[in-house]
Symmetry: C2
Subunit: 174 residues, 2 copies
């Protein structure tokens, strides 16, 4: 990769992070390119779809969540660890609607590994919770993630989101 290409890519991600934080995940791609000091075509070469750009922007946040999963697995009971992690995930999805929507729409066989990482991190917590009998057998990580994302998208207030998540968690026990 040529040095100027690398530099342009970095600038695009930085600009996208700033603009998306302001305008949300539907932010204008032209504006992102302009703010990065780059032609529109360059943005499209580096990121052929909007989703690919969004996933790049969210990578840091997703990695934070994965790290949190490992911390919780070591420091808390199976039940507490899963609950705390889902609450953290819910917060992220709510402060960043783009995160929720992007993960939701990412095809399950996606080669974009950050969504995969998230599923893997969650799977550990879920398995522990199932062994402890807090989550009934047959429930998949994917079920739990989608349920949490749905709550993040549909809840009309933070308090409601918390409440719906706790209802969902009770439901997981069977």
């Amino acid at each position: 990769m040529r040095v100027d290409a690398r530099r342009n890519r970095d600038r695009l991600v930085a600009a996208a992070t700033a603009v998306i934080a302001e305008q949300g995940p539907a932010a204008s791609l032209n504006e992102i390119a302009q703010q990065a000091g780059v032609g529109a075509g360059t943005l499209y070469r580096h990121f052929p779809t909007r989703e690919s750009l969004l996933l790049e922007v969210f990578t840091t946040r997703i990695e934070t969540l994965c790290a949190r999963a490992h911390e919780l697995a070591e420091s808390r009971s199976p039940s507490d660890a899963l609950t705390a992690w889902l609450e953290a995930f819910l917060q992220h999805c709510r402060t960043d609607r783009g995160l929720a929507e992007t993960i939701m729409k990412a095809p399950s066989g996606s080669d974009l590994n950050c969504a995969v990482k998230l599923r893997t991190a969650g799977a550990g917590l879920v398995a522990r919770a199932q062994e402890a009998g807090v989550v009934r057998a047959g429930v998949e990580v994917e079920d739990i993630l989608q349920l949490t994302i749905g709550i993040a998208l549909a809840a009309d207030s933070p308090a409601r989101a918390e409440r719906l998540l706790s209802i969902a968690i009770v439901g997981l026990r069977g």
Copy 2:
């Protein structure tokens, strides 16, 4: 209301129904106006926001759901009635993403009475279910509707949606 105004309004709703069925709730308003044989300005006079047009289009469907609530309340047990109604609601939201999103975004104090009607119809079923001990006290209709809408929005397949709803219903019992 002048007769031509009335006629234009009807044509707009008919055109919107057709176009939205094809293109989803983000369908082009210009195209709807054009297909209705009407100027763009006329659409805006009758429906100042996209949401107001969407709610008009969905009114029929929402009334169907309300009627179903009353039928179920008379013919089934409290538990079955609520479950069956939520399944019907889930189906509607999934076949018509616009329905889910529109209801979700409709301000709770909205004067658009179709969303209110839906809440009222649901409230009867929820109250019965609570008396029967199938839904724990403290849960609001609004909680249940938002949870179901969230599931409709986030689930990646019909089978998943069904599964998530049944998890949620278990959670409602407390």
